[in-house]
Amino acid sequence: MKYYRNTAASLGLCSCHVCGLVSRIGAETGGARCPRCATRLHTRKPHGVEQCWALLIAAYILYLPANLMTIMETGSLISYRKDTILSGVVHLWQNGSMGIAVIVFIASIVVPLFKLLTLTWLLISVQKRSTRHPAERTRLYRLIELVGRWSMLDIYVVTLLAALVQMQSLATVKAGPGAIAFGAVVVLTMFAAMRFDPRLIWDPLQKES
């Protein structure tokens, strides 16, 4: 299959990331603006790889407290428990809500981990100028952009439980410090995925045509 034809960048063209208009940009890529919507034009996201790494490393660091620290404290007259993300899932499973347990497990554990590892792999492969499996890597990138937001699920659950049960005097539910770290991981990985430029996956193929 001969797929590798011309990219816009190889012809000195640049498509606007807001309105999609393709325009010619000269050697000075700095100040060029889209003639239709006046957005600043970049052939590739400026400093995308560096910023993506920075955000990703920050997310890795916070990933530990997010999973090890308490995300929710539940107390009533007869019982008191502290839950991390994983123990919350286990508790749901044991209480018979297996479907919900699976949903929470995927949204809170599988998705963030998958996102961190995939982004790491994408960044390394881009920096090594790998030419292998570009279509699959692009598809993976599309997938993490799509599913990343669903990790916010646990944050919303904690918010609703804490607010409702707090108003009711017999029991208490409190958000723990793990929730802060977890929220930060979700936000950081979302920013990291936005800073990654999937076009970099295809650039190394350019020379082979």
Binding site: A8, L13, R36, C37, Y141, R142, L153, A175, M190, R199
Partner: protein, 246 residues
């Protein structure tokens, strides 16, 4: 900078949204030394995910064009996109307002009951000194969705009457920037999970907002499927070519 004239070059390689065939020979451009650039009857787009330069083709309604190299959806032809999106956004905005005013659900146990709407939950979390989480929920579930809906209405209403609203280009850019942070559908799932967790210890009283959120989730998905930013840019372009500033 050179303007690429947008006009539709006719080729019969339209694709169904689901059954996408890759026919790269028709879509992909065979450039020599960029000669085709000067031909004003052809317009070009670059794939936003792999930067392949492609020739635009006309699509039949309801179909989408896909990049032959990486498979990204390039653009769609949605019938009457501006009018339909406006209608859906107006309906979503109304329901979203209701969803934010009335309680989502209440709980009752041994005579004590409590109910809250989303803003109440955010306030309560703020009072528990969880400022970061509270802000995060406030932005993603209240601020961004309401901004998104009101901006859509502000931008699309004048366009249906043939006017270009002030600040169209920067607002479209802003809209695109905040879009990933609107998470009503995730919040909807959060409500359901919270309900399941509470049914063990409490009696649940469903509130008006519970149903409204369901409706909002559905309508926002419809807005996302109908809205076609390309149509907005085409409106702006016609105006620019007529010599009026954007």
């Amino acid at each position: 900078m050179v303007w690429m004239t947008l006009s539709f070059h006719h080729h019969n390689i339209t694709k169904r949204r689901r059954r996408r065939e890759r026919s790269c020979d028709n879509l992909a451009m065979h450039t020599g030394e960029g000669r085709a650039m000067e031909d004003s009857s052809i317009s070009f787009i670059a794939c936003h995910e792999c930067d392949l330069l492609l020739r635009e083709i006309a699509l039949e309604p309801g179909r989408a064009a896909a990049c032959p190299r990486c498979g990204a959806t390039l653009y769609r032809h949605s019938t009457d996109s501006i009018n339909r999106t406006l209608a859906l956004a107006a309906a979503a905005a109304l329901l979203f307002l209701i969803a934010n005013i009335y309680p989502i659900f209440g709980i009752e146990s041994q005579g004590n009951d409590a109910a809250t709407n989303l803003y109440g939950a955010v306030r309560s979390l703020w009072d528990q000194k969880m400022h970061f989480i509270s802000t995060l929920v406030f932005i993603t579930a209240i601020v961004v969705p309401s901004l998104e809906l009101s901006l859509l209405i502000y931008l699309l209403l004048p366009l249906t009457a043939g006017h270009i609203p002030a600040g169209l280009a920067p607002l479209m850019r802003f809209l695109q920037g905040i879009k990933p942070w609107g998470m009503v559908e995730v919040f909807m799932l959060g409500i359901l999970v919270a309900l399941v967790k509470l049914t063990d210890d409490f009696r649940i009283i469903p509130g008006v907002a519970l149903w409204s959120y369901g409706g909002v989730t559905f309508l926002l998905a419809a807005v996302a499927a109908t809205f076609n930013p390309r149509d907005v840019w085409t409106c702006l372009e016609v105006r620019v070519r007529e010599g009026k500033s954007p």
